[in-house]
């Protein structure tokens, strides 16, 4: 009797499975897109390698589906403003490109739609979507807000330590520093000489100051922007240790580091003037290409050094979400494009063309690690990251401006780390108070 029931259920399950398979094998982007052929969808792209990669692959998608993708390119610094204005004015954008720190903002304004709206419609959802295949940290940090998934991770970064093996070997090191303290106390003095520098930390007064410089020294030392009650945690002992560490480390960096953006740091490294940088994985292709790097043969990649509180590397990246202002056909077409661009099937090609997919399955092949040296470090970093590396709530655009201003003033020595932290803290708390976090009007989500 029991056996019978078991057999019955196994049979039933296999019938269902084959049925499902039959359905799945039937599904194709071409077929799913039939009702939407001829639809044009507008999306903002950045001037970065991951976007060039997907643009090169676009004709394939357009030919198969008949959906036209209209790409509007902006440098990172303009991308938020352009999109906010478009959404406020009810413009043309059908897809939102969301930096992880914008997601709270976009979601709370209802400019983007949860993917649930679409995954419930099997006709336009790739059976192989497999959300569990995305690195959980990445899907959580880049695509989700308050427990709801809005976007799929598209252009994905982790901070990595890029080091010049040749310079390190010459100075007698057979590997990269394991901790930040080691980087400063051992590698710093040994590598800073003859007009060369041990390290460069891009710190220009824009998002680079907040994300790449300020936050990078908070977390590994146990600090953070906010405590549990959403009050400033910047004057805590741990945060202060981190900020003071940055001041101390500046002696091993080139002059005028506060004017360094990504381009300057990456170029300094690529020209062999700087032995180590901590940069986004996205710049890998720049430093290993002989066209743009004179040290291409010497480049090695490691995870960022550890601090007393662990590795906590910088985390950044973008997801794509369907914009609520799009009409129904555009929304469906946009959803198809987003799935396609972040799909398992395309992940490897995306990687080969210079993008960094967030699909775990894409990195399973051990041979990849030899071809792309950043892969092991990247995969390791994504196990260890903090989603709220920078708070992702709607108030971040205001707070990052404060951090940028006072963060650079601290670095320039115009104020002490304590004074600077105090200024940022009190201004940040004013913003959060106005937003209603302290009165209980808003949940403490970051």
């Amino acid at each position: 009797m029991k056996l019978n029931r078991l057999l019955c259920s196994v049979a039933l399950a296999s019938v269902m499975a084959t049925g499902a398979l039959a359905d799945d094998s039937d599904w194709s982007y071409k077929k799913a897109a039939e009702p939407y052929a001829g639809t044009t969808i507008d999306v903002v792209f950045l001037l970065r390698p991951g976007y060039e990669a997907i643009e090169a692959m676009l004709p394939e998608f357009e030919n198969e589906t008949g959906i036209k993708v209209n790409v509007i390119k902006h440098p990172y610094e303009n991308a938020l403003g352009e999109q906010v204005r478009d959404f406020v004015a009810g413009g043309d954008l059908d897809i939102a490109l969301i930096d992880l720190v914008w997601i709270g903002n976009f979601a709370e304004n209802d400019w983007i739609l949860p993917i649930e709206n679409f995954t419930s419609n099997a006709a336009i959802t790739d059976p192989d979507l497999d959300l569990d295949d995305f690195f959980p940290l990445v899907l959580d940090a880049f695509g989700s807000w308050n427990g709801t998934v809005y976007g799929l991770p598209f252009d994905n970064y982790s901070g990595l330590l890029f080091y010049n093996r040749c310079m390190l070997e010459e100075a007698g090191f057979d590997g990269p520093p394991q901790t930040w303290t080691e980087l400063k106390d051992t590698y710093g003095p040994a590598l800073t000489k003859d007009g060369k520098y041990a390290f460069a930390l891009q710190s220009k007064r824009n998002e680079t100051q907040s994300a790449d410089s300020f936050a990078r020294v908070l977390w590994p030392f146990g600090g953070s922007f906010l405590d549990e009650e959403f009050k400033s945690n910047l004057n805590s002992e741990e945060s202060q240790t981190g900020l003071k560490f940055r001041q101390d480390l500046m002696q091993y960096m080139p002059d005028g580091i506060v004017a360094y953006d990504h381009a300057e740091a990456v170029n300094g490294f690529a020209q062999g003037d700087v032995a180590m940088i901590t940069e986004w994985s996205a710049f890998y292709s720049t430093v290993v290409s002989p066209d743009t790097s004179s040290v291409a043969d010497c480049v090695e990649i490691a995870p960022e050094p550890k601090g007393p509180a662990g590795r906590k590397p910088a985390l950044g990246g973008f997801s794509l979400a369907v914009a609520s202002q799009a009409d129904e056909a555009e929304q469906a077409a946009a959803w198809l494009f987003i799935q396609w661009a972040t799909s398992k099937a395309n992940a490897l090609e995306y990687l080969e063309r210079g993008g960094v997919p967030a699909r775990q399955s894409a990195y399973e092949d051990p041979a990849l690690a030899e071809k792309y040296k950043f892969v092991p470090a990247l995969v390791e970093s994504w196990q260890d990251g903090v989603p709220e590396f920078r708070p992702r709530f709607a108030e971040w655009p205001e707070i990052t401006e404060i951090v940028q201003e006072w963060g650079t003033k601290i670095m320039l020595g115009e104020v002490t780390t304590e004074e600077g932290a105090q200024e940022i803290g009190s201004r940040m708390e004013t913003v959060l108070e106005d937003a209603g976090y302290y009165s209980g009007e808003k949940p403490l989500a970051q």
């Binding site: 204005r85 304004n109 824009n206 005028g256 205001e398 650079t408």
Partner: protein, 288 residues
């Protein structure tokens, strides 16, 4: 006998211009006035509310705003005298008789800096003042001066570009003023004295005054709204050392998205500009 022009004709001629001005200039101004009285944040449109003069109060008591204003006037007070001195020198040289073709060429080349887009000037500056590869450090015998990353040097660099770009404008305006001086008056003066200063002070300067007032007003307004060049060159940095008032307003309005506060700042700036222009006209301007 006065020709009678009907009111309709007058309205028909002036109306379109007034209408155009109203749409392009006055409507946005009124809208900015309305915005400045509200809590109006682009990312919090659900919470727009009337808050009276609170934004103005925040601006007037904001240390950062006044620091940016101070920086802007410091730029004006350093760059403008340089521009007037150099511009007057160039105008006087070009006003001397002789060397016709060369002077025409010189006049034409004066237009080039003015015709260069502000943003492009900033980008040029980034390349030319680059510490390592920049041509400026090369020309200074391979000096290792950190222009963009040092607060004082960055400010000096902005002054340099502003002077480079706008001295020709001052020169051309003053040259036009010099050509207004009646030839016989100038000739008579030169027979009286050999001192170029006396000629300049008593004969030429009265003709230059309207031009100088125009230069003062235009350059003050331009400096107060100086944005593109600084934005592409230093983005207000390092720290806040080149954050002039327009950069600050743009930052508040379009990077912090607080349109209400930014509108209040812009309106205060407008008031300051109008007051300054009035002062210039009352103090300096005299009909010849």
């Amino acid at each position: 006998m006065r020709a009678q022009v009907s009111r309709r004709t007058i309205f028909a001629f002036i109306g379109p211009a007034v209408f155009g001005l109203a749409i392009v200039g006055i409507a946005p101004l009124l809208y900015a006035g309305w915005t400045s009285l509200h809590f109006f944040n682009l990312t919090k449109l659900k919470r727009i509310k009337f808050i009276g003069l609170e934004n103005y109060w925040s601006v007037l008591t904001d240390e950062v705003f006044w620091q940016a204003m101070g920086r802007t006037f410091f730029l004006l007070c350093t760059a403008l005298p340089l521009q007037i001195a150099l511009g007057l020198g160039i105008a006087l040289i070009l006003h001397k008789p002789g060397l016709g073709l060369l002077k025409t060429l010189a006049r034409l080349s004066l237009v080039l800096p003015m015709a260069t887009t502000y943003a492009v000037v900033g980008l040029l500056g980034q390349v030319m003042f680059n510490q390592k590869f920049g041509v400026v450090n090369q020309l200074m015998g391979g000096a290792n001066i950190n222009w963009i990353g040092d607060p004082t040097n960055a400010f000096a660099m902005i002054i340099f570009w502003d002077v480079w770009q706008w001295t020709p404008f001052v020169a051309l305006v003053l040259l036009a003023g010099l050509t207004m001086v009646p030839g016989e008056v100038e000739e008579a003066a030169r027979l009286e004295t050999k001192s170029w200063w006396v000629v300049l002070r008593h004969v030429q300067l009265p003709f230059l005054l309207p031009g100088l007032v125009a230069v003062l007003i235009l350059r003050t307004a331009d400096t107060l709204k100086l944005f593109d060049m600084v934005f592409t060159l230093t983005r207000g940095g390092p720290g806040s050392s080149t954050e002039f008032i327009s950069l600050m307003i743009q930052r508040v309005g379009f990077r912090g998205f607080d349109q209400g506060l930014a509108s209040a700042q812009a309106i205060i700036l407008l008031i300051i500009t109008i007051v300054l222009a009035q002062i210039y006209i009352r103090v300096f301007y005299k009909e010849v």
